[in-house]
């Protein structure tokens, strides 16, 4: 399959260059063996070791501990290669940015960078792009050209209809058919509903990392705001006016948003915030690098 040819703009090229640099650095900082930077914790069992201070309590092997009379833990080895699936929920809720870039721009960049990183690392990398009622699925592949074409196509993809939310329920069955232990990057807006039941099964089957983009307006309404706004989530035209009532409403919304974000993704290491005003490459590279190092330390 050949994807559409797309020309990356200079900014994207620069981001990609920085991303690749970060990835190389991350790889060089390892033991010399090639291990995937996408993995936080490997899933392959390696050995049993004594449990020490700072080790993850979840790794305790209670059978061995019971036999030997002291705490022992399982040691996992990071996979040499990972199956990486980038999920982008291209929802109308992403189409906002108080600055030059929108949340969608930032997530598109992040998705493209993750795809490119997968291609560079020769990982089996795939894409699931949910937009409106449709789902574009690029099955995981090591073919670099195919992955880069998908990344380029994604960067040039037009936004979906403003009044049609991305249907997340379509993606769960698709992900559940992927091989066990895949690495999933879940790029979407902050959840606005309680986590679906299928999410638990998904998180047990794969290692899911959620990425969202925050805008300054997400934290607080700007002062002296008075504007007509169209809310694509509610499908309504509203007048936004600064005032105590609006600020209180915004604060309530923010608290609920954060609570839902934590309910969807309880592990700190599984959720990542990007800032809409800064580039995604450095932030992604730092996040992956730090998590990879933390995983090595844990091992």
């Amino acid at each position: 399959m050949t994807g559409p040819r797309a020309t990356l703009d200079p900014g994207a090229r620069e981001s990609l260059r920085r991303m690749r640099l970060q990835l190389r650095r991350a790889r060089a900082a390892g033991t010399g063996q090639h291990q995937s930077i996408f993995r936080g914790r490997g899933v392959e069992f390696d050995e049993i070791a004594r449990h020490g201070f700072g080790d993850d309590i979840r790794d305790v092997d209670w059978n061995v501990t019971a036999r030997r009379g002291e705490l022992h833990r399982k040691v996992f080895r990071a996979d040499r290669e990972a199956r990486v699936i980038v999920v982008l929920a291209d929802d109308p809720a992403l189409r906002f940015g108080s600055g030059v870039r929108s949340r969608r721009d930032a997530l598109l960049e992040a998705a493209a960078l993750l795809l490119m990183a997968g291609a560079v690392q020769r990982e089996q990398t795939g894409l699931i792009h949910i937009r409106g009622d449709g789902v574009e699925h690029v099955p995981p592949s090591r073919a670099r050209g195919r992955i880069l074409a998908a990344a380029a196509s994604l960067s040039a993809a037009p936004a979906g209809p403003l009044d049609t939310p991305a249907r997340l329920d379509t993606v769960f069955p698709l992900l559940m058919t992927q091989p066990l232990g895949s690495t999933v990057f879940w790029l979407a807006d902050s959840p606005s509903e309680a986590p679906p039941r299928a999410l638990g099964a998904l998180r047990r089957r794969h290692h899911v990392t959620a990425v969202r983009v925050l805008d300054p307006w997400d934290e607080a309404l700007p002062q002296a705001l008075d504007a007509m706004a169209y809310d694509p989530v509610a499908g309504r035209l509203v007048r936004l006016q600064d005032g105590p009532e609006a600020r209180a409403a915004h604060e309530r919304w923010r608290e609920r948003r954060e609570r839902l974000w934590r309910e969807w993704w309880p592990e700190v290491s599984d959720r990542m915030n990007l800032n809409v005003q800064s580039g995604a490459a450095a932030a992604l590279a730092d996040f992956l690098h730090l998590r990879s190092r933390a995983a090595k330390r844990a091992a």
């Binding site: 109308p92 809720a93 992403l94 189409r95 906002f96 403003l162 807006d189 606005s192 307006w217 309404l221 504007a227 007509m228 706004a229 169209y230 809310d231 694509p232 989530v233 509610a234 309504r236 035209l237 509203v238 007048r239 936004l240 006016q241 005032g243 009532e245 609006a246 409403a249 915004h250 309530r252 919304w253």
Partner: protein, 337 residues
């Protein structure tokens, strides 16, 4: 057959104001609006301007226009054909009707009090008849023309009292007036099924038309007269009143009925004569009259228009109030960012 129409169809054109307003809104009503996801959750309640209010306004305009055009359902009622009597009740209200020679439940009552419930029951028991009432004493006048509104008629009969008409007994005039009422009600048709019930307690003492002349006229028109003589002949207790009209006692007084004359009227016209000197006989007389042959009569067809404008105007005003209620912002067209 029912039909639907607009009484003022030109007002429907006002409904064009709604699409015109919508077009104007599209043409001129464009306003800057930024796309802000979740903004509806930040906007305090009451500042929202949902599209539904705009649509409600359009709907109100259309409904008001249609209401102004006065929609109507025309109910064309066919001529109702029914079996029944056309009858006139000629009731004597002369002072002799005050004679207290009747009894009900052991109590002494006067002739009018005895006659009134029998007449009312007679009216109630004949829902298919057109019944009219003529009252007479020294003169005769129409209390009610023939009507099928028997409730109203019973109330009118309940209101009659002795003294309404100057004293006397104008039997001939009462019959003549009853014939005139029947003729008017029938619209010149033949008088089959029409008859007169003459209720009196005395002989003809006044009036321009003699009972015999009236009977001949009734016979000519084939209208039988059923004559009921209330009370009896001889002495009967009669109330005595003082100068202020207050009853001060009872005094026996002689009364005489002219049964021959009444019988002659009945025979001449093909009716019957009843001597009802007590309550049971009175009841029996009317029961027998009840057995008279029924006749067909018609109710004229009419066109009944039922206006439907309220069904449109009320929801229209409700929609209008809701669309302009406080909290409704002037709606503007969104423009995707």
């Amino acid at each position: 057959m029912d039909a639907f129409r607009f009484a003022e169809p030109l007002f429907i054109l006002l409904a064009l104001a709604a699409p015109a307003a919508a077009l104007l809104r599209v043409w001129k009503g464009r306003a800057e609006a930024v796309v802000v996801p979740h903004a509806a959750r930040w906007a305090p309640r009451g500042l929202r301007a949902p599209q539904s209010r705009t649509w409600a306004l359009y709907a109100a305009i259309i409904l008001l226009s249609l209401a102004a055009a006065r929609p109507q359902v025309l109910e064309i009622r066919r001529e109702a054909v029914a079996r029944g009597y056309d009858l006139m009740l000629a009731i004597d209200l002369s002072t002799s009707m005050l004679a207290e020679d009747y009894e009900r439940d052991g109590a002494v009552i006067n002739r009018l009090e005895a006659v009134r419930p029998v007449i009312q029951a007679f009216i109630t028991g004949r829902p298919g008849d057109r019944i009219g009432v003529v009252v007479f004493a020294g003169r005769a006048f129409t209390l009610a023309p023939p009507t099928t509104d028997h409730r109203w008629l019973e109330r009118r009969v309940g209101d009659i009292s002795i003294g309404m008409v100057e004293d006397g007994t104008a039997i001939g005039d009462a019959m003549g007036l009853s014939l005139a009422n029947l003729e008017r009600a029938r619209g010149g048709e033949d008088s089959t099924g029409a008859f007169i019930v003459l209720l009196t307690d005395g002989a003809n003492t006044s009036g321009a038309l003699s009972p015999a002349g009236a009977a001949a006229l009734a016979a000519h028109r084939s209208v039988p007269v059923f004559a009921v003589a209330a009370g009896g002949t001889g002495m009967a207790p009669f109330p005595v009143f003082d100068e202020q009209g207050r009853r001060v006692g009872t005094r026996p007084r002689p009364f005489s009925i002219d049964p021959e004359a009444l019988n002659a009227i009945a025979e001449t016209t093909g009716g019957r004569f009843f001597m009802a000197d007590d309550q049971a006989a009175l009841q029996e007389a009317f029961t027998e009259i009840d057995a008279s042959q029924a006749a067909e009569y018609t109710v004229r067809a009419r066109l009944a228009a039922t206006s439907l404008h309220a069904w449109l105007a009320v929801p229209a005003f409700a929609l209008l109030l809701w669309s302009i209620a406080p909290g409704a912002l002037p709606s503007r067209r969104k423009r995707a960012a």
